[in-house]
């Protein structure tokens, strides 16, 4: 089983290589990539904003109880924002994207595969990786950045609202310590994670869709596989990037 998983991982990496190579020459397809990004953003913006707002609020509630124990309520804003930017925000957006866009993409590609559209593209003299995969792949990655920005912005508002209403902390105080704790590195860390996570989602979900073989049932299987494998890959990737980034800061 281990050999088979390693083989599978090898195939996945080879696929990623092919996609990245095709992506290099994709400037002339920018309109389509833009369209796909827009589609992803449209499909997920409302959910992301909603979830972002509540995550900010929840984090504030949680941290309030803890910092009160140390009479450090003035650090509340800083702690919440730092945790959201560095960890919770990117991971949350990634889970949202994998659930919505990941499943959508793998099902769409799987259906194209079993209805012979992918074969037809090859027969009509075109490369399905370049024509079909790359726009969706890049679309997911580009959209993630926008969604992350929006999600974080609203989590900030959610946190601020809870701090003023529930924790009884004036908004100036909530903001005051943020610049001290949330450094450029925190933001960079969030951005790097966002990039890594969206790469994971885009790779696994397009790959699972593209490699479906059979009929409607196999499309379903592919979507389920894509969902579970993305989840596992995301938490592993999170651990790995945190590990590397924390290592960098300590050097």
């Amino acid at each position: 089983m281990i050999v088979r998983s390693l083989n599978g991982l090898g195939d996945l990496l080879m696929y990623l290589g092919t996609v990245l190579r095709s992506a290099l020459g994709s400037w002339r397809r920018r309109e389509e990539i833009f369209d796909k990004s827009l589609l992803v953003i449209q499909q997920s913006l409302a959910t992301t904003v909603f979830a972002g707002f509540f995550v900010g609020a929840i984090m504030t509630l949680q941290f309030t109880l803890q910092v009160q124990m140390f009479s450090a309520l003035s650090y509340l804003g800083a702690l919440v924002t730092s945790a959201t930017v560095r960890e919770v925000g990117p991971l949350l957006i990634a889970f949202l994207l994998s659930g919505k866009i990941g499943a959508f993409t793998s099902a769409e590609l799987g259906t194209m595969k079993v209805s012979e559209q992918i074969d037809a593209i090859r027969c009509l003299g075109s490369d399905p990786i370049r024509e079909v995969i790359v726009p969706r792949f890049l679309g997911i990655i580009i959209a993630s950045f926008f969604l992350l920005s929006f999600g974080l912005l609203f989590s900030f508002f959610g946190g601020l609202l809870m701090a003023t209403t529930f924790s009884g902390l004036p908004w100036e105080q909530y903001l005051s310590q943020i610049p001290r704790v949330v450094s450029g590195f925190s933001i960079l860390s969030g951005v790097v994670k966002c990039f890594v996570f969206s790469l994971v989602i885009a790779t696994i979900c397009t790959y699972r869709g593209y490699t479906v073989f059979g009929g409607a049932k196999e499309v379903g299987d592919g979507v389920v596989q894509a969902a579970t494998q993305t989840m596992i890959a995301l938490v592993v990737a999170d651990w790995f990037t945190t590990f590397i980034l924390e290592g960098l800061i300590n050097v």
Binding site: A120, R122, C123, S126
Partner: protein, 243 residues
């Protein structure tokens, strides 16, 4: 001409084509008959390189398909038009763009030339004037004909049909058979039709090839088939309805 020389293709433990030797003569309508699961579709997909033979040699025109890369196969796909079992239209493109798809990619044509070829191809399948429609607005039969137009727009020397009448009612079956006959005559193509419909084969084919378990069972003209004493052929003939 298409020539299979000891071509073998397996999926896992299942051998679909087993050292198949077969030559398809040029300029004819050739039907390949066989029961489900005898590798008829696999045979077609090998010709255009959607699948690769595990062993053996496969020549299409002058091209040694068995040793060509995906990139090199583009030249073969220019001369081989594949009509898929399902319409396989691109959902996000309108009829015009669907038919123009291959033209734009295989050839460097002016926009006027593309329009002219699209119109001509749609005319061949009796669907002039529906260029602006989206594929979801079409009936199943119209989709099938648009997909046929998309293939013949490339003016292929060889037309490959994957079970074109499976699941169709008798009238639609006759309509598709008529199209295959007309197109092959008008365009002068070699047409290779994979099917399990002996009745259509007897009406349309110049030459009939019967596969069984990945092997060539027999071949000949429709008249020769009707005289055949091979049990499988007789079973197929028993399914030919009254005229």
């Amino acid at each position: 001409m298409i020539a299979f020389k000891k071509v073998t293709k397996s999926f896992g433990a299942r051998t679909i084509l087993n050292e198949l030797d077969l030559e398809i003569p040029q300029g004819k309508i050739v039907f390949i008959l066989g029961m489900s699961g005898t590798g008829k579709s696999v045979l077609l997909k090998n010709i255009v390189g959607l699948l690769k033979p595990d062993s053996g040699e496969l020549y299409v025109d002058r091209f040694p398909v068995h040793q060509m890369s995906e990139h090199e196969m583009m030249d073969v796909r220019k001369i081989c038009g594949m009509v898929f079992q399902q319409p396989a239209l691109f959902d996000n493109l309108n009829v015009f763009e669907n038919v123009a798809y291959g033209l734009r990619r295989h050839f460097e044509l002016s926009e006027e030339e593309v329009s002219r070829r699209v119109e001509e191809s749609l005319g061949h399948v009796g669907l002039k004037g529906i260029e602006a429609k989206q594929s979801h607005e079409l009936s199943y039969g119209m989709k099938k004909r648009v997909s046929l137009a998309r293939t013949i727009a490339l003016k292929p020397k060889i037309l490959l049909f994957d079970e074109p009448t499976t699941g169709l009612d008798p009238i639609s079956t006759s309509r598709v058979n008529q199209l295959i006959l007309d197109l092959s005559n008008q365009l002068g193509t070699t047409s290779l039709v994979v099917s399990h419909d002996m009745e259509s084969a007897l009406k349309v084919a110049d030459h009939i090839v019967v596969l069984d378990k990945g092997h060539l069972l027999t071949q000949g003209t429709p008249a020769e088939m009707q005289e055949s004493t091979i049990p499988l052929i007789q079973d197929f003939l028993a399914e030919v309805g009254a005229p």
